[in-house]
Point group: C2
Chain length 210, copies 2
């Protein structure tokens, strides 16, 4: 198949499959069918096969998928076969929590530098260096970092994003509740916890709860 326009939902599901494959591996299961994988992660088996078909043929007919192999194939497709350095901007409550979150490391991400306009006295974990925001462009360029997380106040998010783009950042995960607008060449994803809660209340209100 191997087309070039991959739907974003497909990419999200690849990540989901990866989690599921990790669990299977931990359980010592070596082979899995799309039916079983689908049951486990709540996705239609045909959907799984279609998703994988965008990138090649990974299964064996009559058998299924070899867990270890498929896991490595998906990791390769997603660029997760090596560690990514990540810069974090805005060492407040949320920023600090993310710096301390062990989960990223497990997924091959390393939050190696943080920036704040008041770096003094900020308690960052070992292995992470903190700098004043004015050093942002220099440090990111020097290290060749391509990924950044924005956890600043929403009034500064757009400005920070533009600076990051100038510093060579290619992917931004934005936690501030504003849509960031960059010309092009930079992928931005928004995680808006307010919106998430609002979607919940919508469905609760629809169903007449509360």
């Amino acid at each position: 198949m191997r087309r070039f326009k991959i739907p974003e939902v497909t990419v999200g599901r690849l990540s989901l499959y990866l989690r599921c494959l990790n669990e299977l591996e931990e359980e010592g299961i070596e082979v899995v069918s799309s039916a079983e994988l689908g049951r486990r992660c709540g996705v239609n088996p045909a959907q799984i096969r279609k998703d994988l078909a965008y990138f090649g043929e990974f299964g064996t007919r009559g058998v299924g998928y070899y867990v270890k192999e498929l896991k490595e194939d998906i990791k390769r497709v997603m660029g997760l076969n090596k560690t990514w350095e990540v810069a974090l901007v805005g060492v407040g409550n949320l920023g600090t929590a993310l710096l301390r979150y062990k989960g990223f490391q497990r997924h091959g991400f390393k939050l190696s530098v943080a920036f704040d306009h008041q770096p003094e006295g900020k308690d960052v974990p070992e292995g992470c260096e903190i700098y004043h925001s004015s050093e942002m462009e220099r440090v990111i360029k020097e290290r060749g970092i391509k990924l950044a997380v924005i956890t600043v106040h929403y009034s500064q998010a757009q400005d920070v994003a533009e600076k990051l783009a100038r510093a060579g950042i290619k992917g931004i995960l934005n936690f501030a509740p504003v849509r960031i607008h960059l010309s092009k060449g930079v992928v931005v994803r928004n995680v808006d916890m307010g919106t998430e809660l609002e979607i919940l209340t919508f469905y609760l209100t629809m169903k007449g709860a509360r």
Copy 2:
């Protein structure tokens, strides 16, 4: 129009429109067309009108939408015309950060109780009470809380979710990197920061960055 199957993307956009309308209000703008609103939040104007048409007719032909009115209409549709109490389970790094996050309040949510299996010595903000997890079902039932945020370790997330469902929770925002499976009657939304970063690396890898 007024159909009953509302697409989730539409609900997410309603929340986006709300943010944009707030900004317009702050700027003192009283009337806005779908064209202008669309330009501001990056959505096709026809899309906006279709989204709104699910719930009624809010505009005036030849004029546009009255900012204040539309804002109130959307808030009513989404059930945001009063404050929602929210329970948070798992007062670790992320949980603490969310408890301290001011943004929720601004959107009409109140994180009024938190639970942890080691509540002693946990520093929660004023206005929030912390209890031992064993009290969860009792406290949530007594207060009639319908919304919960899960920020526990992923190994406990499913278990916590089931307990919350038994306590009468109808909407769950899950930050643990596992798909939670509940029979029905409870809406679950997952925020998975690992997946978000992985989607970024996918697109970066596709485009040959790094």
